[in-house]
Amino acid sequence: MKKRKNKKKFYQVLEHKADLKIRVFGKTKEELFENAMVGMFEGAKYQKKPKVQSSQLKVKIKSIDLISLLVDFLSEILYLVETKKLVFEKVKFKKFTEKEIEAELIGRPLKRMGVHIKGVTYHDLNIHQEKDGTWQATILFDI
């Protein structure tokens, strides 16, 4: 179980034969999405160059539903990792609906990748709200 500095759990790496499977948590959908991004990077051990100034990038995503929105959001982030050579740490959402995101991503230069994520899959992708109102998602990445 991985913990953030504020000691609340935000993702777990689950067992899978060949790929990276994570369960992500969040108080809100926005937090879930941000935690999915950080969980993805930490699960695959994407390392940032420390002590380097962070950069910001804007993203706009439109999808057919919340599940596709999460996949499309993470896929776009993976595209930016490879083309801008950045690993992102935070997301500032300017717009967030079930089908649309406008956000600013904050990150630092990529140092190296532990394993290379080939794709964010839809396989068994489950986003739901628990009884206490918190959000959970299980995501499988092809690596």
Partner: protein
């Protein structure tokens, strides 16, 4: 819950789940496994995933799985589905993100003992010459127009530009170029990722190995393939890198709403998202995936070029030639023709972690191999044995498909917990295998202990008649990219 009693035994190496097992199955599901491997297959969801494959519209005869099968994210890895091009669908997820992940072997004129004094230097030189992935080592960057030529021209284009020999073209599956490739079907996102990754090895289970021929099983075929005992060969295993991954993501994203709203096709998992093969969207997806496949072949061709350079740098003129034996894809959609229920049908064979193995006499294999059959290359897990096999006519029952590697048994997570990268490298070095890698991260996950025994996997395809053993290769040096 599926169990062994739901299977019908066809032979010691082939088991079948009848079509009636689940209401949405269109064809039976067949697995090529020994009895012991079948019992182990229930430990993950690979069998359930194979049953999902059998529901794809237009699938012909059987949903198949090879003995290296394990759980994937749509089809099991090791899955094969031949889908009628007239009435069936095309499924990018069934091909996978790493379009044309594949493997090739270069043969040398050297024997192991003669090369031994130069091995360390050679491994080091190859490690320096072959561009790494992101950001390290040599950086090659292409313009978009140049990249488009690679996407449509594949290996022939690179050879024309001086990055190989004429024989490299015919010794590659599909001549290293799928004719239906169209660069305009590939997104700018994909091209931006692919521009600086040509000729890079990548990480994970991708590698380059200097190997020796440890055992010859079939002297006649080995001779035709140019293999001899103790011969030094070089194996290159990698795929289409970020470009292929993006193409797959792009078309999955496009196909989901089309599948749901326009074509109203139901599939068990969104990752199987598909459209009719003959639709304009289906044709464009095939064209993009063909371009990505060409990119992967160009990638392996470029790496070959750098390997040949390193070979010459270290050994000079007495190094002699490194010839391409053959190059095979194991995540790919190919258009092939088969006699099905008395009629000749064109099918889109989706191979996901499976290798084509054409029989003797097939016109798609190089003339010099035609009498004996197509070479099949099976990379083992890191530091373990690899194999060269040959295609057979009996393989028609599996759409001329065979295994692709060893198949995983341990999750990456479990491998990291129980094994250490340093220990694995020490184990390999104790066996006399040189290891060159950028970092220890990723090594533990690729430990041989995390994979099925490749010898067992190859025994199954050999005994089932899908392809026959020609030679066993063992590593002398392992080089990993990033």
């Amino acid at each position: 819950m599926i169990s062994k009693k739901d299977f019908k035994k066809i032979s010691d190496w082939l088991w079948e789940i009848p079509k009636g097992f689940r209401a949405d199955m269109r064809v039976p599901a067949r697995v090529y496994l020994s009895e012991k491997m079948l019992e182990e297959a229930f430990r993950d969801r690979s069998i359930e995933q194979l049953i999902n494959v059998s529901t794809l519209p237009g699938i012909q005869k059987y949903a198949l799985a090879m003995p290296d099968m394990h759980e994937g994210y749509s089809s099991p890895i090791g899955g094969v589905a031949a889908i009628d091009t007239k009435e069936g669908i095309i499924s990018p997820g069934m091909q996978g993100y790493d379009i044309n992940c594949g493997v090739r072997i270069l043969t040398s004129e050297w024997k192991e003992n003669d090369l031994k004094p130069h091995l360390e230097k050679l491994a080091e030189e190859i490690y320096k010459e072959v561009p790494s992935g992101l950001g390290r080592g040599r950086q090659l960057k292409f313009s978009i127009p140049e990249l488009d030529k690679i996407l449509e021209g594949g290996v022939p284009y690179l050879v024309e530009q001086g990055y190989g020999e004429k024989e490299d073209i015919e010794n590659c599956e599909a001549g290293g170029k799928l004719p239906w490739a169209d660069a305009s079907a590939v997104s700018n996102h994909a091209k931006n990722r692919g521009r600086d990754q040509v000729g890079t090895l990548g990480s994970g289970n991708h590698f380059l190995e200097i190997q020796k021929v440890a055992e010859i099983f079939n002297e006649e075929v080995a001779k035709v393939f140019g293999l001899f005992k103790d011969q030094v060969v070089i194996m290159i295993h990698c795929g289409s890198r970020g470009l292929g991954h993006q193409v797959c993501s792009d078309y999955l994203r496009e196909f989901i709403p089309l599948m749901l709203n326009k074509y109203k096709i139901k599939v068990p998992d969104r990752e199987f998202a598909c459209v009719p093969f003959n639709s304009p969207e289906g044709k464009r997806a095939l064209a993009a995936s063909g371009a990505a496949a060409n990119y992967a072949w160009a990638n392996r061709q470029m790496i070959t070029h750098f390997v040949r350079k390193a070979w010459k740098n270290v050994l000079g003129e007495r190094g002699g030639k490194l010839n391409l034996l053959y190059d095979v894809a194991h995540n790919i959609i190919k258009i092939e023709k088969y006699n099905i229920n008395g009629k000749e049908k064109e099918v889109a064979v989706h191979r996901k972690g499976a290798t084509r193995a054409f029989p003797p006499g097939n016109f798609e294999i190089p003339e010099k191999y035609r009498e004996v059959g197509q070479p099949v290359i099976i990379p083992g897990s890191m530091g373990t044995a690899s194999y060269v096999l040959v295609g057979t006519k009996e393989g028609e029952e599996a759409f001329y498909s065979t295994c692709h590697g060893a198949g995983r048994t341990m999750s990456r997570h479990a491998a990291i917990r129980s094994l250490s990268g340093r220990e694995i490298i020490n184990q390999l070095e104790r066996k006399g295998i040189i290891v060159k890698c950028y970092s220890l991260k990723g090594i533990a996950e690729e430990a041989p202990q995390a994979y099925k025994n490749v010898d067992e996997v190859v025994e199954v395809v050999h005994n089932a008649g899908l392809s026959k053993k020609v030679a066993k290769l063992i590593p002398l040096a392992v080089i990993k990219g990033e």
